[in-house]
């Protein structure tokens, strides 16, 4: 696969008009002993293809729970969740695993790379569970790493990479199966401000190419990089507005991501 394919695949996700993610009165109740905690009290949100949304909120506002539900790591207690029009809220564990592998790309605050495993193998991981042949896995992983500017770090293990580089490996891993939506949970939480800007620049570029990005953060500065900010409070949507004066992340020439053909 050559460079343009990733761009095209990102655009392909944008092609069908209409919502990519649609939740209807999504509720999640955790039962801890006798106490019931309403993490989500009815979230109805529609995310269209090509959007770049930041979910904000204090801790306990339900934003992480919402992220887990959208990421198919968990099932809602009530309500519906349509992913590309398909109701996944009652899927079995195995079906959810399949959806996670094909439709979702995760980027975590703590990177969550496999230790003592080099960058290419880390990026190959999602393809391992989709039955993609080894040769193609390797080629696609190397390509994804090149698109995040790590073409010369393929054999490096996480311990040999800086925090920003590790997060870029994680982003490459999130992209490699050409997901419908990329979910980033506090992706800059463990990074310094300079590196945070670099990572946000990558998300903005990918979004420019048509990728749908859902970002959870509690930092207003970071949220300003998105196109739309949704604020949660006590398991409900408090505020939902378009970003004015959107920040565009500048990146140093040294760190500049390779330009791609077909980029929007």
């Amino acid at each position: 696969m050559d460079r343009s394919d990733i761009a095209i695949s990102a655009q392909r996700a944008a092609a069908p008009a209409g919502p990519v993610v649609q939740t209807e009165k999504l509720e999640k109740v955790y039962t801890m002993g006798d106490v019931k905690v309403h993490a989500l009290r009815g979230i109805s949100l529609r995310i269209d293809a090509g959007e770049f949304i930041a979910v904000m909120g204090a801790s306990g506002s339900g934003k992480s729970t919402f992220m887990n539900l959208v990421g198919c790591l968990d099932r809602p207690t009530a309500g519906r969740y349509l992913l590309r029009g398909e109701d996944v809220s009652r899927f079995s564990r195995d079906e959810l695993a399949r959806v996670r592998g094909r439709e979702i790309g995760f980027v975590f605050q703590g990177f969550n790379l496999l230790p003592r495993t080099n960058a290419v193998e880390n990026v190959e991981l999602p393809m391992l569970y989709q039955g993609i042949p080894a040769r193609e896995r390797h080629a696609r992983a190397a390509e994804a790493l090149r698109t995040v500017g790590l073409g010369d770090r393929l054999d490096h293990t996480p311990a040999q990479l800086s925090g920003g580089q590790q997060q870029r490996v994680a982003i490459a891993r999130a992209l490699v199966n050409r997901p419908t939506v990329v979910l980033a949970d506090e992706p800059t939480g463990n990074l310094d401000s300079q590196t945070s800007v670099e990572v946000m620049a990558i998300f903005q570029q990918l979004n420019d190419q048509g990728l749908t990005v859902l970002l959870v953060t509690h930092e207003p500065d970071i949220a300003q990089h998105a196109k739309r900010v949704v604020t949660f409070k006590d398991g409900l949507v408090l505020d939902d507005r378009r970003v004015e004066n959107r920040r565009i992340a500048r990146i140093e020439p040294r760190e500049r991501i390779e330009p791609r053909e077909g980029a929007a």
């Binding site: 195995d94 695993a97 496999l114 003592r116 193998e121 391992l128 080894a134 199966n177």
Partner: protein
């Protein structure tokens, strides 16, 4: 995830923790080595016992005079002198269908002298059919005949040990030696027989005609024999011969069927079976120890896999987040356990074969490696790996991805 990818993932994970993987597999290594070695050693020992038993003589019955009451006190077996050469002749004449050969045997210890060399050995007085009964052959010369037996000829046949002690490398055939006070001509030399099952040197022996020993060396006029050795025509006829010999001798000794005989008939096949059973018992003991070590080895793998699952909880969470199903995780950990067991099994196989060869060289028996036992043990090792890995793998596969990802 296909098998090849699972295998590569498992090997990679095991390589990352070489020492722990080695220690985990060590139990299986030792267990498989123990099974392979003990089976080989057991079979080697049995082969040796069987060979030694066969060296006593084929299909052989041993008839010994019984005990008797003398003034109210019982004497030991062989104390009576009620077994005679006439008995031997009667058996030879009348039981031709079941008995192949019969040889009387009297034994005495004697000093033997040649030149300035001397040796103390066992002298056996017997008939020419002794060689047939004991399935023995001569290396040189010829066996004495009935003529020499009848005339108490001063001839003898030497065992290899006696030849070594008296003659060294010198030729012995045709030489004159002295057995006690009687000069005897060496007319034959026995082939090498080796140790008996009891560890006795069977080659430390001199054969001579029965009459020569009894009349000339012992100076006795009695016809009583120390024992009779009878060989049945075939191994199937051993028990028939035993029955017929018993009933004939009872008849000759004027004993009713219901009365206990005044002699004993010992069946060497029974002794052989007893010896075989003894080695079987030891073999079973070794096998059960090996089986227990296999169990311990499996527990070792289970333990390491459980630790590994806990330690790699976050890895499992990551794999699930990027699309691994429960069964993919299960398969991954199961593969690791099985690879550990199989690699351990192969190492153990090599070690076991080495130990078996070494033992065979030390104990001088053939290296008998049973392919069935080796294949079976490898299969068992694989099964042990599956069983040991299954529970940890199942636990891993049932982890909640969110919990697993949060695990520190």
């Amino acid at each position: 995830m296909n098998i090849l990818a699972a295998l590569r993932t498992a090997l990679r994970a095991l390589r990352k923790n070489k020492l722990r993987s080695f220690l985990a597999a060590l139990g299986i290594v030792i267990a498989v080595a123990a099974v392979v070695a003990t089976v080989a050693i057991g079979q080697g020992a049995q082969a040796k016992v069987a060979a030694q038993m066969a060296s006593l003589g084929s299909n052989m019955l041993m008839i010994l005079p019984g005990s008797m009451m003398q003034h109210g006190a019982a004497t030991g077996t062989g104390a009576t002198q009620n077994l005679t050469r006439d008995d031997a002749q009667a058996i030879e004449k009348e039981l031709t269908s079941s008995v192949g050969a019969i040889a009387p045997m009297n034994r005495t210890g004697a000093q033997v002298i040649y030149g300035d060399a001397n040796w103390f050995t066992q002298v056996v007085g017997t008939s020419p059919s002794y060689l047939e009964v004991r399935s023995w052959t001569l290396a040189q010369g010829e066996m004495f005949g009935r003529q020499e037996d009848a005339s108490a000829a001063k001839v003898c046949i030497l065992g290899q040990t006696v030849v070594d002690k008296l003659f060294g490398a010198q030729p012995a055939l045709g030489e004159q030696i002295r057995v006690k006070h009687v000069p005897c001509k060496v007319v034959g030399i026995l082939s090498l027989k080796g140790q008996s099952w009891g560890g006795q040197d069977q080659d430390d022996i001199i054969l001579m005609p029965w009459t020569t020993l009894v009349r000339r060396i012992n100076g006795s006029q009695s016809d009583a024999v120390g024992s009779l050795m009878v060989s049945a025509r075939t191994s199937n006829l051993v028990s028939v011969a035993q029955r017929e010999v018993t009933s004939l001798l009872k008849q000759r000794h004027h004993l009713a069927d219901s009365v206990d005989p005044d002699f004993q008939v010992r069946n060497l096949a029974e002794m052989q079976n007893a010896a075989q059973e003894q080695t079987n018992t030891v073999a079973w003991l070794l096998k059960s120890v090996a089986a227990i070590s296999l169990l311990v080895g499996a527990i070792g793998i289970a333990n390491v896999m459980l630790v590994s699952v806990t330690e790699r909880t976050r890895e499992i969470g990551i794999r699930m987040a990027v699309g691994a199903r429960g069964r993919d995780v299960l398969f991954q950990f199961l593969t690791e356990a099985v690879v550990l067991a199989i690699v351990g099994g192969l190492l153990g196989l090599g070690l076991g074969v080495a130990v078996a060869k070494y033992a065979a060289i030390q104990a001088q028996w053939p290296t008998l490696l049973s392919p069935l036992a080796m294949a079976g043990t490898m299969l068992l090792a694989g099964v042990a790996g599956v069983l040991a890995g299954f529970y940890p793998a199942l636990r891993a596969s049932r982890l909640d991805p969110i919990e697993a990802l949060r695990f520190e």
